[in-house]
């Protein structure tokens, strides 16, 4: 009787797809758009500079954010406050020596660096280390597909076992946890020698880190336990195996009918990806970067797949009931029942709707794990998750401002 008597009966929520096709290579981009927000452009990198794959373009002041590298041979055509554009140039058409040299591979495993030293080396390779966990006792590697619709986890575990193995080894050397446990879907045939494994029911929202930890430990929010996504471990392992700066990301790209897993260059334009997959859009379709429950919608075809993005989907017009204006909450309580954190999205969304952010405080709004189930079940088609995000953002902003000390006048009037 499990599938009956419940609101969520979506077979797509099962995160096991028996996907056996290998991770395909994405298109060779004609143009890439790299996100540079927060990055400092390196000296010598300017408009019309020629770049090679792996040429370092910019660094981030945060020690946990990977450096930015060019993914292709090309010319920088534009640098603005948000993006760096690189247009592809065929290296064979140019005279030798025109392009900067491709960096020599670095064998992170052989170098034997550990801990913070390794973290710095990994940052230089373009990998974000922030998402590789904080210091804790137990670290789970979340090897479930992060969201419904995304299906690269299985091929990654089986066909890219070497990359994952390398990633796990590097993760161990980062020394952020005393023990690392690989959490895989129940029934998975993936084997990694010397690795402790945990088995989790592959049903969304179990792939959300907090819930994955509960599934394995049987305890809600136990202390000294954290989780990292398989996608991040793959990125780490990719840099370790190739020895080159990370300029790719694995995405599941798809529509309701077709999907495929691709390794695409960082900064690939979504328009080029759509052409590559022979998908044509119609008026009213939605393009989304990330997963179907937690991603973001894109307004233009020249947006790009950024580092760390794990999905790119097209939701055709008419596939889901449209959101019509500002529909009021009808108190049906579906979100309350769906919420895995047992908070009250109904009231939270209403508080945010009317700007009463402070009223969210007693409702444990911070527990929200952004799983998107509240909006998924909302029969009034309210943007419940977005309202909660808004409240969190506003309250964080308020708290940040409250911590600042007000500026005293420099020249105090003498009294």
């Amino acid at each position: 009787m499990k599938p009956y008597m419940t609101m969520i009966r979506d077979p797509r929520f099962r995160l096991l797809h028996n996907e056996e096709r290998p991770l395909g290579a994405g298109p060779n981009p004609k143009r890439v758009r790299l996100n540079r927000e927060g990055f400092t452009i390196l000296p010598g990198i300017k408009k019309k500079s020629l770049v090679s794959p792996g040429t370092r373009l910019a660094v981030h002041p945060s020690p946990e954010k990977g450096d930015l590298h060019a993914p292709i041979y090309g010319t920088i055509t534009e640098i603005n406050a948000r993006s760096i554009f690189v247009d592809a140039v065929d290296p064979a058409a140019m005279e030798p020596g025109a392009f900067p040299e491709v960096p020599a591979p670095v064998d992170l495993l052989k170098e034997g660096k550990e801990s913070d030293e390794l973290a710095a080396a990994v940052k230089a390779m373009g990998v974000n280390t922030r998402s590789l966990g904080r210091r804790t006792k137990t670290l789970f590697v979340n090897a479930l597909n992060p969201e419904p619709g995304v299906c690269w986890a299985e091929p990654m575990l089986t066909q890219h076992a070497e990359v994952i193995q390398t990633g796990l080894e590097l993760l161990r050397r980062l020394k952020r946890a005393e023990e690392i446990i690989l959490a895989v879907p129940k029934g998975s045939a993936a084997r990694f020698p010397g690795m402790e494994m945990a088995y989790v029911e592959p049903m969304y929202p179990n792939s959300v880190n907090e819930l994955l930890i509960r599934e394995v430990t049987g305890e809600e929010a136990p202390p000294n336990v954290a989780a990292v996504g398989l996608h991040n471990v793959w990125s780490l392992g990719r840099a370790g195996v190739t020895g080159l700066p990370l300029t790719e990301t694995v995405i599941t790209m798809g529509t309701a009918a077709h999907w495929a897993n691709l390794i695409v260059k960082n900064g690939s334009l979504v328009g080029e990806l759509l052409d590559f997959a022979k998908i044509s859009l119609k008026r009213g379709d939605t393009l989304l970067r990330g997963g179907p429950l937690r991603g973001e919608s894109l307004d233009r075809l020249d947006r790009s797949i950024t580092k760390g993005a794990y999905g790119f989907f097209v939701v055709n017009a008419g596939e889901v009931p449209p959101i019509e204006g500002d529909s009021p909450c009808i108190n049906c309580g579906a979100c309350i029942q769906a919420c895995p954190m047992r908070i009250d999205p109904r009231m939270l969304s209403r508080y945010a709707e009317f700007g009463k952010y402070n009223m969210s405080r007693p409702e444990n709004y911070r527990l929200c794990v952004d799983c998107g189930l509240c909006g998924y079940v909302c029969i009034a088609r309210r943007p419940v998750l977005q309202y909660i995000r808004l409240a969190i953002k506003k309250l964080e902003e308020e708290e940040r401002l409250a911590k600042l000390t007000p500026i005293e006048p420099v020249n105090k009037p003498q009294s």
């Binding site: 446990i181 305890e219 859009l281 009021p328 009808i330």
Partner: protein, 339 residues
């Protein structure tokens, strides 16, 4: 590019997938679940029943439209919620109800019961019951099925057990009661058909099973307790379950989303109290059928039930942090095999 760059894309917020449920679809499912009872009512009462149902539905739709026009809101008759309220209200009225009565009940249901509170989903008490209660208390003679439907020979089981004691219950077979061969509201008496429809709704997840289940359980527990206390005076659970409007109340009235709690334990308590109150009203109240009043009362108590709060995620820690490894399910952790 195969897609021109000026194609207008829809921007929205996550989640981009949806369960597909909408207010309109839920209303259609509810109407579908009410259909068997409506058909049986037509077979039993003929054109008069059709007249009451049609008038109630149309009057509810018109009242809602009128109120929304006056409130300068978008018309929402297409979502079907007013039609559901109208049909449920008609089910509570006798087939002989004069048109003025039906009209008054419908206008009050939608006008006072719903729109005065701000529209669908804002009312604290089931809208159909507000309309019903108003005419039931104001015009008891028209609402009394046994006095207004003189041409039938059908019995009123709740009336009989109230005034002739438990022995009267033996005059009714459970099958007859389920098939609607007794007096009461024109559709509310179709217990069997309503039960089927209600189970359909619960299976589809349109209503939550906890409420009808605990409501019926409350009826069984309370009537059994009374029956055990004095078996001559109080009838057993059978006639209480199938007679009167118990099934309609359990599946279609108590489950109105905006008037009930939404978490499991509060829902169970809410239903239990409703069921128990139904029997108590029937045994000790002044009216023979207490189910609608019981529902109105638990509707009003719903905010109190909501105070039974479920602790949020992570707040159920033991006093000392125990090692989760001892608690983890056996077999959940394994050493990876050799490749």
């Amino acid at each position: 590019m195969t897609t021109p760059n000026d194609t207008l894309l829809a921007i929205s917020t996550p989640p981009f997938w949806h369960c597909g449920r909408t207010v309109q679809k839920n209303s259609l499912h509810t109407l579908l679940a009410l259909a068997p009872a409506a058909l049986l009512a037509l077979l039993q009462w003929g054109i008069p029943a059709m007249r009451v149902m049609a008038l109630a539905v149309l009057a509810c739709l018109a009242t809602e439209a009128l109120c929304q026009t006056l409130m300068k809101r978008k018309l929402s008759q297409s979502d079907g919620t007013a039609a559901v309220t109208g049909l449920v209200l008609a089910f509570l009225l006798p087939a002989s109800a004069p048109w003025q009565l039906v009209l008054l009940a419908s206008v009050c249901a939608l006008g006072i019961g719903r729109m005065a509170f701000g529209g669908y989903g804002s009312n604290q008490v089931n809208a159909a019951l507000v309309g019903w209660a108003l005419v039931f208390v104001s015009f008891p003679t028209f609402m009394d099925a046994s006095s207004s439907l003189l041409q039938t020979s059908l019995p009123d089981p709740l009336f009989q057990i109230k005034y002739f004691g438990s022995a009267a219950a033996e005059n009714f077979s459970l099958l007859d009661l389920l098939l609607g061969k007794h007096l009461g509201g024109l559709g509310a008496t179709q217990s069997g058909a309503l039960l089927l429809g209600g189970l359909y709704l619960a299976a589809r997840g349109v209503i939550r099973w906890e409420i009808p289940f605990s409501f019926l359980l409350g009826v069984v527990l309370a009537s059994t307790a009374l029956h055990l206390a004095d078996s001559a005076l109080y009838a057993g659970p059978g006639v209480h379950l199938a007679g009167g409007s118990t099934v309609l109340a359990a599946f279609f009235l108590a489950t109105e989303d905006s008037c009930c709690p939404h978490r499991r334990i509060p829902m169970l308590l809410y239903g239990l109290l409703g069921g128990a109150l139904t029997v108590l009203f029937r045994a000790f109240g002044m009216y023979s059928d207490g189910a609608p009043f019981a529902v109105m009362l638990i509707n009003l108590l719903a905010p109190q039930f909501t105070l039974v709060r479920t602790p949020p995620f992570g707040s159920r820690h033991g006093k000392k942090a125990r090692s989760w490894r001892k608690k983890a399910a056996p077999g959940a952790l394994k050493e990876g095999g050799q490749v």
